[in-house]
Subunit: 258 residues, 4 copies
Amino acid sequence: MEEKARIVVWNEFRHEKEHEAVKKVYPDGMHTVIASGLKKLGGVEVKTATLDEPEHGLTENVLKNTDVLIWWGHCAHGEVKDEIVKRVQKRVLEGMGLIVLHSGHFSKIFKVLMGTNCSLKWREAAEKERLWNLEPSHPITGGIGEYIELPNTEMYGERFDIPTPDELIFVSWFEGGEVFRSGCCWKRGHGKIFYFRPGHETYPIFYNEQIIRVIWNACLWAKPSVFIEDKCPNINNPLEKLSAKNLNFGKAGILQNS
Amino acid sequence: MEEKARIVVWNEFRHEKEHEAVKKVYPDGMHTVIASGLKKLGGVEVKTATLDEPEHGLTENVLKNTDVLIWWGHCAHGEVKDEIVKRVQKRVLEGMGLIVLHSGHFSKIFKVLMGTNCSLKWREAAEKERLWNLEPSHPITGGIGEYIELPNTEMYGERFDIPTPDELIFVSWFEGGEVFRSGCCWKRGHGKIFYFRPGHETYPIFYNEQIIRVIWNACLWAKPSVFIEDKCPNINNPLEKLSAKNLNFGKAGILQNS
Amino acid sequence: MEEKARIVVWNEFRHEKEHEAVKKVYPDGMHTVIASGLKKLGGVEVKTATLDEPEHGLTENVLKNTDVLIWWGHCAHGEVKDEIVKRVQKRVLEGMGLIVLHSGHFSKIFKVLMGTNCSLKWREAAEKERLWNLEPSHPITGGIGEYIELPNTEMYGERFDIPTPDELIFVSWFEGGEVFRSGCCWKRGHGKIFYFRPGHETYPIFYNEQIIRVIWNACLWAKPSVFIEDKCPNINNPLEKLSAKNLNFGKAGILQNS
Amino acid sequence: MEEKARIVVWNEFRHEKEHEAVKKVYPDGMHTVIASGLKKLGGVEVKTATLDEPEHGLTENVLKNTDVLIWWGHCAHGEVKDEIVKRVQKRVLEGMGLIVLHSGHFSKIFKVLMGTNCSLKWREAAEKERLWNLEPSHPITGGIGEYIELPNTEMYGERFDIPTPDELIFVSWFEGGEVFRSGCCWKRGHGKIFYFRPGHETYPIFYNEQIIRVIWNACLWAKPSVFIEDKCPNINNPLEKLSAKNLNFGKAGILQNS
C-alpha cells in the first residue's frame, strides 16, 4: 500500500570513461551498479542521471518526481552548474532526501547544505576499513550487524569539517591508524540528508551487499511524507487582539512621517 | 591579562539615511549605538563597518583582526557582494564569531552558513515581545533575569527555517499570539554563531540595556581562542604499518594501467 | 502488512475516582478516552494499565508485548514502585517507545530517563494555549496544521529543566505571557521518547481530535523496528593482530605479580 | 582576577591498596597523581576525596565549595551510597561540573545523569590507542595536537550506550580494530559533564602530560559561572491579563464542586 520511493542515482560518470582501471570495475558507471543493487532489494523506483546530460539530468520535472537523490561526484565538482545546485538545494529544503556518497563530501550541493568546508584527511593505499555500527536500532542500519568490513578502501580521516550530525550512525576504523565519522544524518529544511563514506571509484565497493543495503535503508529513511514549499509570510492579522499602539511607530521601508 | 575581544559591528546603514522615522531613532546609524553600548560594558575593542564603504568595510585585513563580527542588514541583502560573503564565511569557519541580528536572518552570510531558507512569519504592529531565558546558566544570558520584555517590536513567528540550534537560549512570546526561537547558537567550522532576534530599525531596541548586555555576552562567548585555516591534506604515510596490498588497485585520477 | 503497534496507555487513575469535577470529564478515566481515540485512528492494538493494578499493570509479560507505552501521572508519582520504574526504563532502553503526557514530566520514569529535575513554572487559570508546530514535515505532526489551539489549559512555563531535545516539535504560547517546549523528542538507548505537554485532568483535552492525532502519530513514530538487550561484552579476541606486549601489564582485578 | 576553579578529585581508591601491580604504578592512589598534575598547570585549587572516607568525602559542605568534581571508580561502584549519588546529581544540576574518567562510565552518578546503560565492549590486552581530536578549537583540546597516542591501554569499543553527546571531542582508534567515542560533552541542568575514556589502573596513563592537560582543560571548561537551585514555582499571577474564564474549571487536587 505504501508507495514506492522514487530514487535518482546521480553520478559524475567521468572516471569510468577515462580510466581503464575504473572502467574494468564499473564498465557502465557506478550509477548503474548502485541502481541495480537498489532495485534488487525492492520497494523503490530507480532512475539515473549524470553530469553530461542536459541540465545534468536534473530538470525541474525530474526533481519534482524524486523522493531521494543519491550523489556521487569527484573530479568534476566544479562543472556542476550553480543554477542546478540551487535547484537541488531548494528541493531538499522542500523535503527531498539526499544521500551523499564518498568523494561527494566536496560536491557543491553538500557544501551549500552544510555551510562548512567539508574537508578531511585522505590517503590512497587500498587499506582495510571497518565501519562500526553505532546505532543498531536506526532504520539506516537495518540488517547490518556490528560492523561492515571493506578489505580495500581509500582512507578518510578526521577532522571532517561538518556541522555536528543530528545522528552519528557509523564511525570507521582504518588500518593505517585513522578514524572517521562515516555515516552522518542531518535534517535541513524538510529534507533528510545522509552522508555515507564508502565508495571509491577504483574499488568494487558498490557491489558489496552491505553497502547497498545501507544505501537502500537510507533511501527509505529519507523518503519524505510531505513536500513543503518555502514562504516567508506577512501575517497582518494577529491571532490575539493587540493593545492600542503608539502611532509614531512606522512600517519598515514604508515609514510614516511623524 | 585576557586580551580584549576585537569586535566589528557591521550595519547595512540605509534605513537610517533614507527614512525620517529611522533617522530620528538612530541618527548616526544603529551600528554606532550598538558599538557605544558594547564599549560601555568594557573588555572589548569595537569598530564599525557599513555596506557603502569599499569592500563593505570588510577587507582581508579587517577580518584578520576581528574576533567577532556583528551583522545587521535588511533592505539591501542583495547588494552584499558574493566575494565578501565568501570571505566572511571563510573567516567564520576559521574561528571568527558571528552575531546575526534581527532581519539579518535573511542576509547572505547567515543563509550560506545555515544552508537553509531562514524564512519565518512576520508582522509589523509594534506589539509586545517577551524573550524567555531558557538557559540562565549560559554565558550569553549572564546578568539577564528570567526574561526580557520589549514593549514594541516587529513580530517574527515560527516556523523559522533553520538547522536545529546546538543551543536554544531564548524563545519569544508575542502579544499577537506567536512564538519564536529568538536566541540560537551554532558552531560552524571553528566559529561560533549566535542569532539574536531583537533589533528592528523603527524601535529604539539597541538602546535597551538588556539587549546590549546579551550582545556583549555573546561577543565574549563567541571570541575564538584560536584560528585554524582550512586544509584537506593527503596523508601519504600511515601511522600504522599496512599489510601488503594488491597492486591492481590504482590511485584515483592517476590510475595505473593493469 | 506492517504489523500493528502494540500500545499500552498507563494512567495513575486517581483524580478520576476522587474528584467530582474530574469524574464528570473522564468518568472511566483518561486512559479509556485516550485508548478509544487511538483505536478509532486504526493501525494499533491498545491496552490500558493503571497504578492500582498488581505491578501497576506493567508485568514483565505486558512490557515484553508492548511497542509503545503512554504515561499519565500526577498526584501519586511517589507510589510507583522503583522496581517497576527500573523495569520500564530497561524496556525503553531496549527499544520500547515512551510517550509522557502533561504532569508526567514529574513521573519517576521520565526523570530517570532524562537525568534532570524536569521542573517548570505552572499556573492553573484555565487559560488559552496555542501549540505551534515547528516541524510540519515530522511524522509526529502529520495531519496537524500550523498550530493547535486549546481554549482552557493549565499553564506550564520555561525554564523546563530537561536535556536539550534531539528534536523540538511544538512550542506553546500562553495567554498569560509564558512559552513552553511542549513537544520534545529524545532517543535513549534504543527507545524513542516523546514528551507532549497537553492533558490536564480537569479539561476535556483528550477528547480533542488534534491532540489524539499527535499521540497516535507519536505512537507510530516511536514503534521500534527491533528490541536489543543490553550487554557489556568482553571481546577477548581482537579483530586485528596485536603487536607483542610487555608482560608486566596485568588484568584489572586479576592482576599478575610482576 | 578570575577566581581559581575549585576541583575535587574523587577516587574509589581500592585497586591501589589491594593489587601489587597497581600499587607500583600509583602508590598513593590515582587521585594524588591527577591532583598533582592539575596543580602544576595552575589556576586551580585541588582537593581529593575517596570512597572509604565518611560520606565518601563528599559532604554537603565539600560539594558546596566545589566547582568541578572528577570521578574515577571501577570495582566498587555498588558501594557508593545512593544518598551521596543523589547529592552529587543535585549539585551537578545546580551547576557543578563533572568529569568522569574511564571505568567511571559504569558509576552510579554517570548512569543517573545519562539515563542509559552506559555499557560498551572491552578488552584488556595492553594495546595501543590513538585519540583523534575532532574539535581542535574547543577549550577542552587546547594545547593538544591532532591526536594523543597511548602505547598501552584497555580497549573500550562501540556501541557505547549513551545519549548522543552535545559535542563529540575525541574518537579513539584501537590497535585491535575497534573505535570509541572517547571524549563526550553534555549539559544536564546547569552543569557541564565531560566523559574522558583514558585512565586504566594498571597503566601509567595519569602521568601522561597530554591526558592531564585535557582533564585540566575540561575543569576550566566545566567551571560554572553561577549555581542555580532547582524550583518548580506556581506563578499565580499571569504577566498578561487573562480573558474571563468559565468557573466550572477547577484546580487540580483542590477541585471545586460544580
